[in-house]
């Protein structure tokens, strides 16, 4: 509606069109502008590729690290023996009552596996491993208690929950002492925690850089189209209308950068995978890089698209406003 001339229709009101057609026009207009912006990028492929490259690589680094950390976490979960709990039984507990304890423990939801080592077996093992050999034969009685090895389920193998389980096990009548070699596991988890923090920090810094780089690229785009923007303002274009193609350019930078990052991460992981498998086999742990699936692609794309749009928004809001016909 015209501000100055009452009754003078502006734009789409001139001819009667339905809401549905308006909606279709809205989408076709946006689609056309999106395709136009993509065409603009295509017309200067080298400059576009550089910007897309910056965005792609900036997302590649934190993504790769994230995948590796995620995998390390999974591996550490495979080391169930890490939170294996040893229960030393009281002296005087017979094999029969130890077996009773075993049957009870097997019913616990936290427990994956229980193994009983009776004092005689324990002595034999100790003899073999300690190197004391025949010297042990001089003992009058077997000093070793019966031992029950409890392996918690994956869910209960983290340091804290394994600790809780240990306390619960200690309350059993037959148990004298319970021990959990938890320290190195705690250290590993702490290390993973630090690695996670560092990856987050790195990602945040790189994302900031990306927003600024995209913002600057779009700023140069805007300035190179100064004359065109002046003409558009002279014939009555709103800032929003002028901004739109630049926002789409930001969108495409983000989208293409995101795809590039995804492909790069995939290649890096395939490359690393081989040597990783070799390394991991020495620890008898299977290692699967299965994190690069569709949902990761979607997450990476949405992150990079939002970065692209954020950068473009940052510069569009400043610079389109500043260009005025003189």
């Amino acid at each position: 509606m015209s501000l100055l001339f009452k009754g003078r229709a502006q734009g789409a009101e001139t001819i009667k069109i339905g809401v549905f057609q308006l909606l279709i026009m809205f989408f076709t207009d946006h689609l056309r502008q999106a395709v136009n912006s993509l065409g603009e990028l295509w017309r200067s492929p080298f400059a576009s590729l550089m910007t897309i490259g910056v965005l792609g690589f900036s997302i590649t680094l934190p993504s790769t690290l994230y995948v590796l950390v995620k995998n390390t976490e999974q591996i550490s979960q495979q080391w169930e023996q890490a939170s294996e709990i040893s229960l030393f039984l009281r002296t005087g507990v017979t094999d029969a009552s130890a077996q009773q304890l075993l049957t009870r423990l097997r019913l616990w939801p936290e427990v994956a596996e229980v193994v009983y080592i009776n004092p005689a077996e324990g002595l034999k093992e100790f003899q073999a491993l300690s190197g004391l050999g025949d010297a042990l034969n001089y003992l009058e009685t077997n000093p070793l208690p019966g031992v029950v090895l409890v392996v918690p389920t994956v869910k209960y193998s983290s340091p804290t929950s394994a600790g809780i389980l240990l306390n619960k096990l200690r309350k059993e009548r037959e148990v004298e002492i319970g021990k959990l070699d938890i320290e190195w596991l705690e250290r590993l988890y702490a290390l993973i925690g630090i690695a996670k923090d560092l990856v987050t920090l790195l990602a945040v810094l790189l994302f900031f850089a990306v927003v600024l780089i995209i913002g600057n690229t779009i700023r140069l785009n805007i300035l190179s189209k100064r004359d065109e923007i002046v003409v558009m303002k002279l014939v009555g274009a709103t800032d929003a209308f002028i901004q739109r193609p630049f926002l789409y350019t930001g969108f495409w930078y983000g989208f293409l950068g995101g795809i590039m990052a995804w492909v790069t991460v995939l290649i890096i992981l395939l490359w690393v995978d081989y040597s990783m498998q070799d390394f991991m086999q020495k620890y008898q742990v299977s290692f699967d890089l299965t994190v690069m699936d569709l949902s990761t692609l979607i997450v990476m794309l949405s992150v990079s698209v939002s970065l692209g749009i954020a950068g473009s928004l940052l510069s569009v809001q400043r610079h389109v406003k500043d260009i005025e016909p003189r």
Partner: protein, 230 residues
């Protein structure tokens, strides 16, 4: 249609471009604005299209005070004013059709409607067969007519022209002015700034003359060679 009430414009730095300018161009009128370069013609036009704001006084279009127009409303004001420039202000990498259709695209018309209106506008200025050309391949007069087609394509009630015949020979200039007369006869108010006195002398239209930012004549300029421009 255009009303100036005691309008003064002082640029930062103290240069006074307009001093207490007072005039009224009626609805459906066609008027010329003349004066030396630097007399304030461009400033006056910029006050109408809100490229500048007056320091003192009021500018009204159709009774609406432009000082009440907010920054984000300016775009909508410009849709009501067809503007024509000496430098044409065309997009050189877009076809004639794309240039002329720009105001309609901005207003969000349907494709069908755009094609129809652009066709009609180009027909009026006699460039229908050049729709697919780039402006760079056209002559100066033809480029100016593309600019005119773009100014009238959304049928604004007011046309403003800043030196529309600036670089054209007298015959071409006359053709351009005849175009403006056609639009004026269709009910559009036309306001043309020019220093081409010979052109004005051949017609009987109201002529406003600016000198050093002041309005010195307002009326039919029957004897333009009065030594005002010595």
């Amino acid at each position: 249609m255009i009303k100036f009430e005691q309008v003064s414009k002082t640029y930062p730095g103290g240069q006074q471009a307009l001093r207490k300018v007072d005039f009224h161009v009626e609805k459906g009128e066609m008027a010329f604005l003349t004066g030396h370069s630097g007399a304030g013609k461009s400033t006056l036009l910029k006050l109408i299209s809100i490229m500048e704001r007056p320091t003192v006084g009021r500018v009204l279009i159709n009774g609406h005070n432009l000082s009440s127009i907010k920054r984000r409303e300016i775009a909508y004001i410009r849709r009501d004013i067809g503007m024509i420039f000496q430098s044409h202000q065309l997009l050189m990498d877009k076809t004639v059709f794309d240039n002329v259709s720009l105001p309609l695209v901005i207003e969000g018309h349907t494709r069908k409607n755009i094609a129809k209106r652009v066709d009609a506008a180009l027909e009026m200025v006699g460039l229908r067969d050049k729709a697919k050309n780039l402006p760079i391949t056209l002559s100066g007069g033809e480029q100016q007519r593309v600019g005119i087609a773009r100014a009238v394509v959304n049928r604004p009630p007011l046309l403003l022209a800043d030196e529309p015949t600036g670089n054209l020979d007298p015959k071409l200039s006359m053709e351009i002015i005849r175009l403006f007369e056609d639009f004026n006869q269709a009910g559009v108010s036309v306001f043309i700034a020019t220093h081409d006195l010979g052109l004005i002398a051949r017609m009987k239209y109201r002529t406003l003359t600016l000198k050093n930012g002041q309005m010195i004549t307002d009326g039919l300029d029957e004897q333009p060679n009065q030594g005002l421009y010595v």
